[in-house]
Every structure is written in structure tokens, then in C-alpha cells.
């Protein structure tokens, strides 16, 4: 760790790194997503053709990754807001981080079937 940085590892720093990385990823996705949605102004066929790629197993895996990024960024964002505005926030930041991770794991487990189920059926039949 270079000297003079504010954070010294542990939950506080790594959650900040992950918040930054997920934020950038979501932004780049959104840019492409608005472009692909704009195809509804070209023709139904053009739009449906691009959306068909969203339904392939490999892209389904990417969608699962996108859900992971958004859920982490959203939950940790709420934690950051609590640290800033709740008087006891800074004292409980570590507990809140592990709460975020717990909720995140539960939600990600719940998302497996809805998000990846159709890919499973494509690959292994119903």
C-alpha cells in the first residue's frame, strides 16, 4: 500500500474499490443498452435480432454478472449514504458492510433460477 493513502485495506477500502469498479461497469452497460434500445426506432426486426443475443447462454451469464454488479453497487451505495447521514453510521460501517454482503449473497442465490434458468434449458433441454 503506498504511503499517504486515506484507506489502509480492509472492508472500508475494498468496498470502495468494488463500488468504483461496479459503477464504471454499469455506466458502460447503460451506454450500450440505450443504443440497442434505440433500434426500436429502426425496425421491429432489427430490435428483435439484437435482443435475441440477450437470450443466448453466454450473454445470460453476463446478465447474471450485471445483476451482481448492480445489487452490490445499490446495497453498498445505501451503506455509504448511511455512513454519511446516520450519526452512528461511521461506527457501524464494518457491520453494515457484512450485512450488505449477506443480503447480496441471498439475492444472488435467488437470482440464479430466474436469470439463468432459460440458459439451462437451452443447453440441457427442459
Amino acid at each position: 500500500m503506498p504511503a499517504g493513502t486515506l484507506y489502509r485495506g480492509r472492508e472500508g477500502m475494498w468496498s470502495w474499490v468494488a463500488h468504483r469498479v461496479t459503477g464504471v461497469l454499469i455506466f458502460f452497460f447503460l451506454f450500450v443498452h440505450v443504443l440497442d434500445t434505440a433500434l426500436v426506432r429502426v425496425s421491429p426486426e432489427a430490435y428483435d435480432k439484437v435482443v435475441a443475443t440477450y437470450k443466448t447462454p453466454i450473454v445470460a451469464l453476463l446478465e447474471y454478472g450485471l445483476v451482481a454488479a448492480i445489487l452490490f453497487h445499490a446495497l453498498n451505495g445505501l451503506r455509504v449514504i448511511a455512513v454519511d447521514f446516520w450519526s452512528k453510521g461511521p461506527r457501524y460501517q464494518k457491520q453494515m458492510f457484512w450485512t450488505v454482503m449477506g443480503v447480496w449473497i441471498v439475492l444472488m442465490a435467488g437470482a440464479i433460477y430466474p436469470v439463468l434458468g432459460h440458459a439451462y434449458r437451452v443447453l440441457f433441454g427442459s
Binding site: 468504483r20 459503477g23 464504471v24 454499469i26 455506466f27 447503460l30 451506454f31 440505450v34 443504443l35 434500445t37 434505440a38 426500436v40 426506432r41 425496425s43 421491429p44 430490435y47 428483435d48 435482443v51 440477450y54 437470450k55 445470460a60 446478465e63 445483476v67 448492480i70 445489487l71 445499490a74 451505495g77 445505501l78 455509504v80 449514504i81 454519511d84 447521514f85 437470482a111 430466474p114 436469470v115 434458468g117 432459460h118
Partner: protein, 160 residues
Amino acid sequence: MSTTETPASGVGPVEGAPVYTVDTPAPLIEAPRKRTKKSPRSTRGNFELAAWLFMRLSGIVLVVLVIGHLLIQLVLDGGVSKVGFAFVAGRWASPFWQVWDLLMLWLAMLHGANGLRTIINDYAERPASRLWLKALLYTATVFTILLGTLVIFTFDPNIR
């Protein structure tokens, strides 16, 4: 020559309060960055404060908008398999979902663009790289917001 003046010290006058009082026998020293009548009027606005606040307020609203959007697109009613032109036509027939998507577009783009501005400020050190990266960021942001807004307002279910 007798002198009744207080001895010279490095303590300057403090606005609105005497330097010594019974309660403060030690000289009262003004907080270093306190703004007083004498400090020049700030030439900077409160842009960074507004941006900081916006990140938090938009974040709270985006939790509902984006997670609701993902639930509709990826989880409910067959997940991503049902998405297609006909599905979009059905959704944008309702002003409620038009406003939802419009708000989500503007808030997410402005929130994300402001976040990227912070990141550029953190990592790009040469003035020229900062300028060009921000020019690229702002161009892409304005373009995306305008395109997305136009698509929502001009959507035509009977295009073909």
C-alpha cells in the same frame, strides 16, 4: 513612559467578541477557516456540494427504478425470453412506464457521468488528459440522454 495598553501579541481582533473576557482569560483565537465579514466573497459556487448531494439522492431513487426494471426484464413473466419489440410496445403504451424509463435514463446517466467525472479527477493527472477525457465523457453523456429521450417520445408501435 507608563503604558496601560495590553502587551502586543500575535492575537488579532476577533469579530463580534472581545479578545479577553472574564470567562476566557486566555485570548480567544478565531477558527482558522471561519468566514467573517472580512473574508472575501467566495468566487466558487457550491457545485461540488450539490454534486455530492445529488449522488446520494439520485442513488436512493435509482434503487427503486433500476432494481424494479431488472425485476421486470429479467425475473418476472419468463425472464429475458419475453423481451422483444411487441413487449416494448406494450410497455411504452403506458405513460407510467414511459415516465419511469425517462426518469431512470436521466438519473442513471447523470449519476454515472458525475461518478466518472470524479474518477477522471482522481486518476488523470495531466491537464490535457483530464480535458480530453471529460470532453469525451460529456459528449457521450449528452448524446445518450438525448437519444434515449427521443426514443421514448417518438416510439411508434406501428412502425411497420
